[in-house]
Symmetry: C2
Subunit: 512 residues, 2 copies
């Protein structure tokens, strides 16, 4: 008699009394424990340095070299999280986090994520979980209406919305749609002639999208902006760039216009840019990743005036609309351009609902097949706070930015570099306030940039706040971006005090 | 004295007593409520039809036309979820879900997702949250070691791992790396000459990736497989296809080999495919989305023998490794190919750690800039169950598939269409068992396909189980894919009884 094969022998030796990995009683116990752990984290968050102070490689020194063979209890896992992970976090939910743009969480966003993970349905096709698809279409219309987007962007007006993971994904998908539409006219062989336009303030997601979809690197136009337009893209410059490309025999394809640039929250003038684009027949995508959410307040809506001339529009609800990562809302006027580029129809996904063409299959609106039930978060945020409170939350951040801006203005050593538009203040130690021993204008700029760099380094090393920088028009500026849910006016006052203290030390040391 | 501008007036009218959207006390209360809601959902999950029975458009009829102006309490939101969302779900966590491939959840995966959302750090650069980056590198080495991947794929061997959202993203990124490496040799103008290879069993993600990265649609080779190789890609067929392309002056670029195809879990022979690929200098990506996890069991490891000849390898921990969506683990031998294609270095992200080149910045390993802290889930799953129990969980699913396979074999009306390899059984009502009034072989196949289509429709309409189909070699087959955490042997027995009952009805009706 032959012995069992290793496979059979292993299978037969599996213990049948293994605990279920989704036992509801245990789920409840550990789930409650985790809720308390995270609630405690929020209650204690101000005790941690905002910017993590660890050194590269710290974690390999703390953790074992390989995965454990045997189960560890949740209690000791949570101890490890507290001991080894928390010190290595840069605390994005800290009320003194003013870096980059916020990526804010709320109770409703958190609960929505729990539900989404709990159900863990994969809504690639309508049939694979109808509620996931239908709720997404509905909340995207809801949010579109709150933004008073033109009806042509909504399902109710033959456009439509989809939730992507990121702006880069949104740009890739719309750029591919534009590319294929154009190549159908001019032939595949002309892919190397396609030109994409942005400004020197456009997010790097545009460059990355170009790299991915096969735009010739020589045909990515980074149009220079200046302080005279507050670093917004000038329609005249765009027109010049395009006409020069047309003269050179190239084919203008795609413009990414920005509402709220990363460096300074500049707003590109959509109306006149879309007119130029329309003349040359190029696709306009509006990237309102950060500032788009604010446009649900009537007083900010004018910043997207002209969006009716664009082909697609996106904002990151995971930045300033309380959903937590990830939730990039994308609207498109002609979804068929997207689906004709992104559709695949493998037999194993065929089903009656899809064949009927009466349903949306979101797999054809995005890169991946799989997709998380992100609409749940957005729905919970909209329901749990209501439009009125959401607007007020957004306004409270803007109000705090106004407060910070006011504080900067009271100290003559500082200047606000560009006018504040939303909830971010770009400021710096002013060259005029610092006596630098040089007659050379370039050297003055270099010196003052160095002073500001050191100032920011000092602020961040203190652990009491975290801000980041940008360089615009040759100026090194400090960005104070407000948008974390826990931030209150007192944190703004503390942050300003911190800036002043560090400025005192640096300017004194430099004999300024 | 002028009146206030609308903006100022709105801001000043914001209520200052608005409840915080992240009040820890309220967070705790609502969080506990949600844990109980989801625990109840799991306890009751067998009461719901597995495949949602709603009609397209059902949800618009239930929900208001626009977002509410005012907050709704969590209690009423949860009632809405129960009343309007749950009926529209296809329950992927139901123990009788055997469709597609599972996307399974566990307590540890769920808790990891909670932590990740709670912290909501954005680990695009090391500095933006060092623990997020370092934990990801560590757990990717841990998991790579559990799979006994060659050291060249691990950080400890100058390769490295990254967690993407989906296989499609993994294929896009590796294809772009391969594309750019090749174009640096042959010149940008030759992008239209690049050829990509897969089989007729390769996942549609490959086709989509080709569409996105700008591969000429005429240069996407879908190599036919046959039953004789159990629908695995034949190295000889690959060689023929490549050499014919070379003769035609084209440039072979990329092969996607699959370990565990979607239709039948076929395994492409990595070793000999990689040898062919090496000869022609083409990039090999191994897509082990579903079956890769099983390869941490020694008895399944041989299915990825030869992976040392590949350039990159991916598996979806969100399919069969209990992390919940999304968690696609990707290893790559030469990360510099990836980063040279995907890097962008905007000034606003510059920092000392990056400049030192001592750290990993995962933004340059993936499509998006933003990224969720997915490593937390994988870490918690590995720690909470340990390698021993994880292997046993995987084996328990395989064992249940063996059980189902055995049941099918006992009923002479049925046949197992291809040998079971992992935890999926492909079966159908056998043509030989059905007396069909036709001498024409093609008609027999058509008739039997129709019988099986109707059988599957009946099973799914019952709500008691959900399976999906594939068509291979002209045969319509029913796929019973086992992998949901809650599935036990009794559910397999019930599923088989359901299949038999529906077969009785259909075969009787057809006088068979």
């Amino acid at each position: 008699m032959g012995s069992l094969s290793p496979q059979e022998s292993n299978i037969n030796s599996s213990p049948t009394d293994m605990p279920s990995a989704l036992d509801p009683v245990e789920f409840r116990r550990q789930g409650h424990m985790m809720v308390d752990f995270i609630a405690d984290y929020y209650q204690n968050i101000e005790k941690y340095p905002v910017l993590s102070q660890v050194e590269p490689g710290y974690l390999r020194k703390c953790l074992p070299e390989s995965a454990p063979d045997n189960p560890e209890p949740i209690e000791s896992i949570l101890q490890d999280v507290q001991k080894h992970i928390v010190p290595g976090l840069t605390h994005w939910q800290s009320p003194s986090f003013f870096a980059y743009f916020a990526s804010n969480v709320s109770i409703a966003g958190f609960l929505g994520e729990m539900l989404s993970t709990g159900f863990n349905v994969v809504g690639f096709s309508w049939v694979s979980s109808p509620a996931a698809t239908e709720l997404e279409s509905i909340v995207m219309d809801w949010l579109g209406n709150l933004l008073t987007l033109p009806k042509s962007f909504l399902f109710s007006g033959n456009g439509g919305g989809v939730i992507h993971g990121s702006t880069c994904e949104a740009i890739i998908c719309t750029m591919v749609a534009a590319r294929d539409q154009m190549l159908r006219q001019i032939g595949l062989d002309n892919i190397q002639k396609l030109v994409v336009y942005g400004s020197d303030q456009t997010h790097s997601a545009l460059q990355k999208a170009c790299q991915i979809v096969g735009i010739n690197p020589n045909n990515f136009r980074v149009i220079k902006t200046t302080k005279s337009t507050s670093f917004a893209l000038s329609p005249e410059s765009l027109k010049l760039a395009i006409s020069s490309d047309v003269e050179a025999g190239l084919t203008p394809l795609f413009l990414c216009a920005t509402v709220g640039t990363t460096a300074t929250t500049a707003v590109d003038p959509l109306d006149s840019l879309c007119q130029v684009a329309k003349y040359y027949g190029i696709w306009v995508h509006v990237d309102a990743a950060y500032a788009g959410s604010a446009c649900m307040c009537p007083e900010f809506r004018h910043f997207i005036d002209g969006v009716e001339g664009a082909n697609s529009f996106s904002l990151n609800a995971h930045k300033w609309l309380f959903t937590a990562l990830d939730c990039c809302c994308v609207w498109i006027k002609d979804p068929s351009t997207l689906t004709s580029s992104l559709s695949t129809n493998p037999e194993y996904l065929r089903n009656t609902a899809t064949d009927s063409k009466q349903v949306v299959d979101y797999k054809d609106w995005q890169i991946a097949l799989s997709r998380r039930f992100r609409a749940m978060k957005l729905w919970l945020v909209l329901k749990s706070y209501g439009a009125v409170n959401l607007r007020n939350y957004l306004r409270s951040h803007v109000k705090m930015a106004m407060l910070f801006e006011g504080l900067v203005s009271t100290d003559r050593r500082f200047e606000v570099v560009v006018p504040r538009v939303f909830s971010m203040v770009c400021f710096r130690v002013s060259p005029s306030a610092a006596i630098i021993i040089s007659d050379d204008e370039i050297n003055v700029e270099n010196c003052i940039n160095e002073v500001n760099r050191k100032l920011l380094e000092g602020i961040n090393a203190s652990g009491h706040a975290f801000m980041t920088h940008a360089v615009v028009g040759g100026m090194y500026v400090i960005r104070c971006a407000i948008g974390v849910t826990l931030t209150e006016e007192k944190h703004i006052a503390m942050a300003w005090k911190l800036v002043q203290e560090h400025a005192d030390a640096i300017l004194m040391k430099n004999n300024i």
